[in-house]
Structure formats: C-alpha cells, structure tokens
Amino acid sequence: MLSLVRSRRRVPSLPSSPRPSSQSWEEGREGRVLLEARALTRRFGSFTALDSVDFDLRAGEIHAVLGENGAGKSTLMNVLSGLLRPSAGELLLEGSPTRFDSPADASAQGIGMVHQHFLLVPPLSVTENLLLSANKAKGGPLSWPITDVLDEAKVLAEKLGWSLPWDALAGSLPVGTQQRIEILKALRGETKILIFDEPTAVLTPTETPELFATLRQLAAEGKGIVFISHKLDEVLALSERVTVLRRGKVVARLKTAECDAGVLAEAMVGRDVIAPSPRLVPRLPSSPDAPSSREEGQPNPLPNEARVAGEEGRRLSGGEMALTVQNVTLRKLKNISFTVAPGEILGFAGVDGNGQTELADCLSGMSKPQSGEILVAGAALQPSPKALQDARIGVIPADRQKRGLALSMTITENLTLGVQDSPAFRRGPFLSAKALRARAEQLIQRFDIRAEGPDSAASSLSGGNQQKVVIARALAGEPKVVVAVNPTRGLDVGAIGYVHKALREAQASGAAILLISTELDEVLTLSDRVAVLFDGRLMGIVSPQTPREELGRLMGGAA
C-alpha cells in the first residue's frame, strides 16, 4: 500500500503561498459583508484546531467551506455559531466587532445553524419543536406563543414553497422534511446568516436538489449562506466562493466559477484527486460472468429476469463460489439470488431504501432471512454474528459509530471486539492482554490507523481513522468473504482512497467482496459485476461498463 500512496504523491502539493487566486478574490467583491472573522484561532489544549483563519461572508452569497474530516470545518462553524469561543482573533458582524457568548446569543444576533444531526424532539409535533426554539426573550416565562410561532413559520414556509404537516410528530417525518423544520428553526425574521453543516449527508438523492433550491432561494433573499461540505460536486454546483481548510489553516480562497473538482480536491488534500483504485490482480478465471459483449458496453438483448436467472443459474451450480445467496427473502427484500466468486467484487447499486438494508442485515448476521439460503463455500450458513465469524466473513457495517465501534472504548478494545472468544486470545476466562495489545499494535501499523496510541478512545479518532479500525477488524482474519456497506460514507477523499485500496487488497488475497453502496461511482469503479436493486428485487446483474442511462433505468425500476 505504501507504493500506492507514494505514487499519488508524485503530484506536488500546493505551493506554500496560500492564496492561489487572490486576484479573483479581490475582484469578486459584491454584496455587503455580513460576517467577518479575522485571524480566528481556536486551541484545544496543545492542539490548534483553527490557526489564524480569515473568513468573510457577504449578503446573498453561498460560501462553501471545504475540507477533509478534521480540517477544522466544524470548529470554525462552532465558533461562528457561538458554541465555542475563539482562543484569539476577532469576529465582526456587519462591520462592528462582536462576540457570541452562546448559541442563543449568536442566534439573537442573527445567525442560524442547521446541524448535520438534527436537534429535534421526535415525540413532539412540528409546531411544538418550532416553539421550543422560539425567541425566549419575547413575553414572560409563562408565555406560550404557539400561534405566533406557527404563523411566522407558515409565512416562511409559504415563501419557500413548502407545505409541512404542522401537527405531525417530528420523529415520524422523512429526513428531508425534518431538515426543513431545522431550517425553519434557524430562520427567523431577523436571521441574516445561515450555516449548514454537511446538510446533504443525511439526505436521499431526490431530497438533495430540493435542499439546493431552498439554499439558492434563501441567498437570493439576501441572506448569507455558509455551506460546509466535503463533497466537491455539491460545492461546485452550489457555491459562489469556496474557502478551503486544511489542518486548521485556510489553504485556498477561490471563486467557484474559476475552479473545477481537481483544483478543489488538490487544495483540500494537497494531492490530486483519488484515482480509481486499480485492480491488484487480473480477473480470475473463476469469475465466469464476463460475457465479452457486455464488457464492451452493449445492452443485453435478454429481458432482465431471464438474464439474471440464466447467468445465476449457470453460476449457482459452481461449488467453488465463495458466497451463494439463494432465493433470500427478508421484509422488503424479495427472492434474491446471486453468487460471488473468490477474488470478485460484486457491487450493489440502487437508490437507498430498495432492500439494501435488509440484504446487509442478512449478510452481516444481524437478521435471519425469512426464507431462502445463504451458502459460504458451499456450506449453509445460519446468519448470526458468531456464525459469520466462524465462516470467516468480515463485515464493514454501514453505521460505523454505532454498529462498527464502541466509541468510548479504546482502539485496542475495539480491535478486541470479535476475537474476544477466540482461543488464541484467551487463557481460561481471562483475555490475554499482551497478545491482544500486540495484535492491536500490529493492526494499527498494517492499516495505518493514525492515533496517539492503542489506548486512545475510538471517539478521539477522525472519521477516516475510525473507519480504518472497523476495516482492520473486518480484514484482520484474512476473511473469505467481505461484506462492505457504504464503506466510505462521510469520509474525505484521502480516506476513501484508503478504503478502496484495502478492499482491492482483500480482493487480491482471494476474498469474495460484496459491496453495497449508494455511491454509484464507487460501485462502478470497484466492482467486477454490478447488481441493481429496486423495490427489494434484483433488477439485473450487469457489467460496470454498462451505460449509465441503462443503469439509471434499472435503478428506477424499468425493465
């Protein structure tokens, strides 16, 4: 893996002069400056999270803040929204120096924040949630201005073209609607500045454009929008200016119109955009699914059902398959059959919510299928976490902070999870601390987990390094089958490259890999074959070279 990293570093990193396009920066002055930060610094102990950061936001613009996980984006936003106080530097609100003593103070001064993780009370109605965040300064402690709040919210919602179920319980609503409630909470008559912390991370692909339309409309009304993201395409599509952070410093201030994804990515990570992780081994002969016609991208003449049945029919007989799934049905998932050969990556594409969760649950041992069979190397598997360990199936779960890690435990302890019953690490009822620690140190080395040491808490790691711990656990036992579910969700470019490379290495060592991901690009670049799920059904298994239009049709349910 080292060689790969090195090859990527051939591209020289950004020159030390941090303003590659200060020219255009100056030219771009239009709109009055709403908020300005000068030499903002924030330290946590000896760690400097923000190092003399300058930032300004003008009325009517969408200003993106881009950076890897841990670059300081969240710290900057927390300072701007009053959650954290700066260690040094000053804040100017419409030209006059100010300070925010608390989020409520910042909000009173016209700054609204929409958090990535919603701060709604699920069992309360939409209106009650809005009331909770209403301006407490108005009225006495016993005032209950529910009609005022509702009226104000209705006016705002109408302006934005939303119709919201005001009496529905917040927890019962789709994520996109919950986000709209959050936006309404942040928006008040006097709100001039809105900060969005990775607002698309939780949205479905159809909800994202709707959010973007909202952001544009808010900007058009003269509000200043700060848009935090690490998704380059979103930043390019939405923002007028970009401030790029790296290791707590501003490394670039750009006009979006003058840059492309490559420029942004390079500024962000100091190296060029992640190249598709190349195969480390040639296609195995045991991967009998590559009819040359499809490799060339020609649409298959057979109808989908027949194609699946025919192809899988041929493959199912093979006892050499690492993983065989036969007629599996679970809740939404209906009668799914496929096989994965050793050394093969089978990708599952499809819009989230079409059976991926159920498939992942079956194959990670969290649920048993209602009917159907799962065979590993020809032997039937009754899915349970334990059975999966015994069958040497490594799982990279979708929710790494909940299902992947016990965040308050140390790295060593997290790496112990899963081998706590293995005789190699036991002496009677006792865990063999020495062996476990040695193994942890070895895995930290091998998977390049950046941490202070094996005893740091998993919660202290950046997202990418947390995922490395999860991957280390999944791949440590040289698994025969790897089930990876959204393995790069929420990770920055560098970490994504790492994850892809790790999967490639597992593939090269002969593991059959099942990749379930909502990132179509990821599925297409990594997979040998691509299966498409729609409404719990397998629409087809096609070559990754299949034209996107056809994939889109399959993902949309068209036969």
């Binding site: 946590f44 976490p385 435990m409 999870l417 899963g418 601390a433």
Partner: protein
Amino acid sequence: MKLVACVVGGLLLLAAVILAAKASPVAVALALFRGAFGSKDSVANTLIQTTPLLLTGLGVGLAFKGKLFNIGAEGQFLLGAVFAIWAGTQRLPAPLLLPLALLSGALGGALWAGLAAALKLWRGVQEVLSTLLLNFVAIQLVAWMVRGPLQEAVKQYPQSDKLAISSRLAFLWPGTQLHQGFLIALVLAVLIWAYLAKTASGFALRAVGAGAEAAEAAGISVAKTTWGTFLLSGALSGLAGAIQICGVTYFLADPYSKGYGYTAIAVALLANLSPLWTILTALFFGALTAGATEVQSAGVSSVVIQVLQAVTLLTVLAYGWLRERGK
C-alpha cells in the same frame, strides 16, 4: 483550577448551611472528624459503615458500567438480608450456616435484580422503573417477613430471631465491632476490578455498556450479558445485606436498611464507576455516616451530613460539567 473552584465553592456552600443552622463550621468539621476517625471505636465504626456501601456501590457501579440503570440496590440489599436470616437460622450443621447465609443473601439479591432483568428483556420494561419500584416491594416484604414467617419465636416484636454465634461473621479487630465482612468487601472490590479489566466476560459487559449494537455485531450476546450484569450486580447488593445480618445486626428488623442502596448510587458515581475508587468513595461516605452522631454533639442536626453528601455529589457533577463545557 476548575477543581479548586468547585471544592472551594462546595465548602463555602456547606459553611453557609451550617452557619444558617447557627453553628460553627469548624466545630462541625472537627466533630465529624472525631466521630469518624477520633478513636479506635470510631475508626471501626467508619469501616463497618463502609462495608455495605462498598458492596452496594460495587453492584451499582457494575450495572451502570453495562449501561443498566439499576437503582434497586436498596431492594436487593433487603432481599439479601431476608435470605441470609432465613438460611442462617436453619437447622443445619453449624459450619455450613455462615457460608450458606452469605450465599443465600447473594442469591436473594440476584433474584430480585433478575426480576428486573426479566421484565426488561422479556417485556421491555425500563430497569430504572422496575428496580426502583421493586425497592418498595422489598420494604413491604421485610415488613411482612418480620411479622409473619420470620418473626421471632416468642412472637413479641416485629423482628426475627437472632443468629446463633456460629452463623455470625467473626470479629476482625479485637476490642471493636469490626467484622470480617469488611475484608470480604475489600477482596470483592479487587475481584470486580479484575473481572472488568481482565476477563472476557467483563469485557463483554463493558462492550455492551459502551455500544450494545457494536457488541452484538461482534458476536457478544447482549441479552446474555444483560442477564449476567443484572444478576452479578444484584448478588453484590444482596451479599451486602447478608453481611449486615451476619456481621452487624444478627437479626432482621423493620425497617432494616438505612438507605445504603441509595447512597450506593452516589458512591458509585463519585468513583466514576471504577471498582477500586469505590473503596475510597465508600470509605468517605462511611466516615460521614459514622461521624454523624458526633456532629449532633456540636449542636447541629445530623441532617447536615446528608447536606454534606449532597454537596459533595453536586461538586463532582459541577466539576464534570465545567470540564465538559470548557472544551
């Protein structure tokens, strides 16, 4: 810095309370110290008070570590006492009686906690609720026992017969009332520490507490671990009740507990759920309890001691909050 501020703030608050009661804070402090550590007897008394607090504190801390909010140590303590007095007064060979009484006490506590575990795992009842309510059931159970099945043979007072000498815990420190139960509690604190830190089962307990879903996905049975945690936690509190019977009172009366099971929550939280620190925090609360009588001689109600306990806990919570907020 923040710690100093918290401690000073706590002391000032306390001094204000004592001044409001028209007494001298210094005199109260001296009386408290005298009551807790002033003589051989008072030291022994402190350690006697420490013993049930340490065991119940260990039990509560263990459950909290597994993210099970067992606040029913009081009830589990009482069940332990009931089981112990019942077993200790059986007609059996004398050498068997003491171990049998202690084990029965642990079993009683485990059963009582097991009820809460069953309610949680089979019916989804929050353990905060079930363990708390079971405390009141246990109080009534004791009241009935000492008026019914376990009442003394002469049927005069609502209390049980006394344990025979052979069923009692021996004294540890000649000339005082300190019994071997204190030693048992100390040993158990170390054993529980080793259990949590060194064994696979203790690791499972901590993993389930730190992230149940991650533990389940890693092949640890959350249900089994939850059962184990409840039973062990209840057994420790039950053993505390049994030791109180076999080492201090020798009979069951109504009411029986001085609220050890509730103080145990403060003991465990103050120790940050660490078994070894629990020794110190239990000792602290034990000293406060033991010193309380002497405080009355300084002209203040011993309720001041409860205020002191509350202020201590508030100080610790305030410090934790400040540390969190300063980030």
